[in-house]
Symmetry: C2
Subunit: 251 residues, 2 copies
DNA sequence: CTTGACCCTGACGCGACGTGAGGCCGCAGG
DNA sequence: CCTGCGGCCTCACGTCGCGTCAGGGTCAAG
């Protein structure tokens, strides 16, 4: 098959295929004497995967690394795409619910708080993150462990975990409001609880790794945003408390 | 509220807010003496709408026109967003189903045809299109009519329409395969049937408007892709048949 | 042997920001 | 009082995923 046919079949432009060829994401397996690109069935398979990952928000470069990973067979890709699509489904459902909630509220003359309204944008444990998390930490033991455990979670498990998390976060916020320092025993104890919670629910999180996480809370804007939405200054506070706790344990 | 706080609340970067300010999409309603951006609650409302439309794939410029349209009250936006989100939900569900189908097939050692695999990318009556269609034709009578009628459709209605459409398309494909010309009576009759189908189900489609549609089938790559997926050469064929039919009626 | 559809390779443009650079607030601590 | 230090400001250039010509070869049908 030549470019035009493939483009029509897959619903993309010819230019897109040229682009994928040039960046090495999808090189047609053959060329005619005149230089025409010739796509084999295997190329179509690959294109299919590419388009799905693209749709899910992966940058093309990462799609390439995913597809060129020799340790990932086709079934692996299907499973991953299935997971990501279901995440997306969940997120979209949540957004629909949020809009319906707002419509309801409007029709009753009530108005929601800003926090309520942006809720769905803040609760980004969603696909966008799933994609990136995998790039950053995919392949690490922690990641594998986390994947394994979360896959085994039922909806109830998940709600329990969420409740636990919310609880610690709320108590962090309270500590912050009450004015105690991030290096106070109270704050450090909360940090320790946070660490153990992660270890229990996701992956073995040692002090060093926990400290790394803490740093991320202030360096990655989205994590910062997550904590700032709970209370202004909370990202810094939690991060500092985690460092203090790690230091306390290390010394 | 200043930029940082708003950014944290909404889960976007400060730079994004700067950008929205510069392009006039979201201008903070005030500035301090020092030039600091000051966001009022109304600005947050607007930001919320912006982010939802953005998430739904609208280009920012179009978001601006949507939001600045004085004839669109907040409830209107909510309804539209609700609609678009539900479209997205449907599409994602279809994609999940497609992946599951492929997993099933793999596990049974069967392999799908390329057409089957790209199906979900071809059946783009989805959000992506909804967004664009509204930009191109929003405000025209045809669009309004179509909106009104499709809103009133039940799921069964929709399936019936889809079946009708598939039928005519299949007969077009058959005509093409049988080798009759696009200007044959057979082809023109099919074109006429196509026109009446649109008139019945969507909006009054006169010969001139139909000819315009036909042109689009070959000029817009995605329409072309849609027909090419049914049979190679079908986009041209249908388009030509429509022109011929319009000419026949006009002369 | 022409014609028209399809293919090629540059190369520039664009949308939606990311990412510094260089410099001005503003307020807590010495 | 001034000195940090985080937050804010405005350029301004960089990036990603293509869109869109420009200039030219290719191929099947008539």
């Amino acid at each position: 098959m030549n470019v035009g046919e493939v483009a029509a079949l897959a619903g993309v432009t010819v230019r897109t295929l040229h682009h994928y060829d040039r960046i090495g994401l999808l090189t047609p397996s053959g060329r005619t004497a005149a230089g025409y690109r010739q796509y084999a069935p295997a190329d179509l398979d690959r294109l299919h995967l590419v388009l799905l990952y693209r749709e899910l928000g992966f940058p093309l470069e990462e799609v390439a690394t995913l597809l060129d990973d020799p340790s990932a067979d086709p079934a692996e890709h299907l499973r991953r795409q299935h997971r990501l699509l279901r995440d997306r489904l969940e997120r979209t459902t949540a957004m629909v619910a949020a809009v319906e909630k707002e419509m309801e509220a409007r029709s009753m003359g009530i108005s929601l708080t800003p926090e309520e309204r942006f809720e769905v944008f803040g609760d980004w444990l969603p696909e966008e993150y799933a994609a990136e998390a995998e790039e950053k930490w995919g392949g690490t033991d922690a990641w594998a462990q986390s994947q394994q455990r979360t896959r085994a979670m039922t909806k109830d498990d998940w709600l329990r975990v969420k409740a636990e998390t919310d609880d610690v976060e709320a108590r962090f916020a309270e500590a912050l409001r009450s004015g105690v320092g991030a290096d106070s025993a109270q704050a450090m104890d909360l940090a320790e609880e946070h660490r153990q919670q992660i270890s229990r629910n996701f992956y073995d999180c040692g002090y060093e790794m926990h400290a790394g996480l803490g740093r991320m809370y202030v360096e990655d804007e989205r994590f910062t945003a997550y904590y700032e939405r709970i209370a202004p200054g909370l990202a810094q506070f939690v991060s500092a408390a985690i460092q203090a706790n790690a230091t306390r344990h290390g010394s």
